[in-house]
């Protein structure tokens, strides 16, 4: 009995980690569709988001079944509750990747990004994808060191985000209001994506230690 139960807990973790890898891939493709004005790729991200929502639904069903049938305590209870939180965060990451792809689709065949800001978004994409993959790894390994790494990656994202604003606010900005509005929202999507990945890692720290590592940055 105990073994089946442990297996169910492991399956739940696997499912969530899989969700992280899926939204990492979504963000990777969404970023590419944005940078390369690739409509087909954008469409693909948009149509695949439903899969993330489905995995979330399955993960939640598993979590409910565990709570109802096994009435877990202590660390196991923390795992299940964290899984419920994590599933919400990761689904939101999928939505944010979707928003990036939608921006690429909306402006197609025009590029959304002026050439001079494209490299920053390439970098935000790289950092975001890395964060999502690391969050998936941390769910599997429950390695506190790796969880802490996400915090410093997130600092890199915050720096990029802040920098993007200083570019927009600069009196030398020559692309007008329309692109500035798009970029403002896009930069926000990447920043929120990273925040959710960090939230997932923090929940894992809570599972292992029983304590939340400080409040979330907002």
């Amino acid at each position: 009995m105990r073994d089946v139960y442990q297996e169910q807990l492991d399956q739940l973790a696997d499912e969530l980690a899989g969700m992280c890898y899926q939204v990492a891939e979504a963000m990777e493709k969404a970023t590419r569709s944005l940078l390369e004005t690739d409509l087909q790729l954008a469409e693909q991200v948009i149509s695949e988001d439903i899969r993330v929502d489905e995995i979330r639904a399955t993960a939640e069903e598993k979590a409910f079944a565990l709570l109802a049938l096994q009435a877990p305590v202590a660390t196991d209870l923390r795992i299940v509750v964290s899984a419920i939180h994590g599933a919400g965060d990761i689904e939101r990451m999928g939505d944010l990747a979707l928003h990036v792809a939608q921006a690429a689709r909306r402006r197609h065949p025009q590029p959304v990004l002026p050439a001079e800001v494209a490299p920053y978004f390439a970098e935000m994409g790289t950092v975001g994808v890395r964060l999502a993959r690391k969050a998936g790894d941390v769910i599997r390994s429950r390695d506190l060191g790796a969880a802490a790494e996400l915090e410093s990656d997130d600092d890199a994202m915050d720096d990029l985000h802040r920098h993007m604003f200083s570019v927009l606010m600069d009196p030398g900005w020559s692309h007008g209001v329309g692109p500035a509005v798009d970029i403002t929202l896009l930069a926000r999507f990447y920043e929120r994506y990273a925040d959710h990945a960090v939230a997932v890692a923090r929940r894992i720290v809570y599972v292992v230690t029983g304590r939340m590592p400080g409040p979330l940055t907002v």
Binding site: F64, L67, V73, H85, G88, L168, M169, G176, L185, R188
Partner: protein, 216 residues
């Protein structure tokens, strides 16, 4: 101290969630006032009060965890406990968004005249949604919850309208003001979205179904 009986814990969860929603409604109302009237002191008060919402959330999680631990609830009771945990996250986020509006007000850049009325209206709609979400959380009234789902359309219309104003080539206020307005509009829209999620969670907790499946 022995844990409270499950029915009392469930009542307490509903009450706390209602209180959280009322608190964030008040926060956004004051933040909007601070934004529209340039009242930095009011904005600072909103920023300082955000910790209250976080404390309420922690309380919800504690009671919910106790309920799971000591009573191992099943079926509808289990849904209510899990949904309380999730809802508390949404309402805390609403508090963060009110905080962001207050922080924008604190920065003291005046809102362009042509979007003032729109923000007043977004504030009004968002606060109403949060108050309705409070009632839904307290009373677990499914009909009211399904209604709230439709109320959000007003916010979406305002949000779309705002982008029309910004993207108009005649926008005279420059890029920095457009960036501020873009983010502020997004905060209101997200605040409203989370209020809708609170209602959807309640429908799910009570009926076991998503709101779209409810024939109202």
């Amino acid at each position: 101290m022995p844990p409270a009986p499950l029915p009392r814990q469930l009542d307490e969860l509903s009450e706390l969630l209602g209180q959280m929603c009322t608190t964030v409604a008040g926060a956004l109302q004051r933040a909007t006032y601070a934004l529209l009237e340039g009242r930095e002191r009011v904005a600072q008060q909103v920023v300082a009060a955000d910790a209250d919402v976080d404390a309420l959330r922690a309380k919800v999680e504690e009671i919910a965890t106790d309920a799971l631990l000591f009573h191992a609830p099943v079926a509808g009771d289990l849904r209510q406990v899990v949904s309380a945990i999730r809802t508390a996250g949404d309402v805390e986020r609403m508090g963060d968004l009110a905080l962001h509006v207050a922080q924008a007000a604190e920065r003291g850049r005046p809102l362009p005249g042509q979007v003032r009325d729109d923000f007043a209206e977004m504030g009004r709609v968002a606060v109403q949604l949060a108050l309705k979400a409070a009632e839904v959380a307290r009373t677990r009234n499914v009909i009211l919850a399904v209604e709230l789902d439709a109320d959000d359309d007003a916010m979406d219309a305002l949000h779309v309208h705002m982008f029309g104003v910004l993207m108009d080539p005649a926008w005279p206020c420059g890029v920095p003001a457009a960036v501020d307005v873009t983010l502020l509009a997004r905060y209101y829209e997200r605040f409203a979205d989370h209020a809708v999620v609170v209602a959807r969670e309640t429908v799910y907790a009570v009926t076991g179904k998503e709101p779209d499946a409810i024939p109202i």
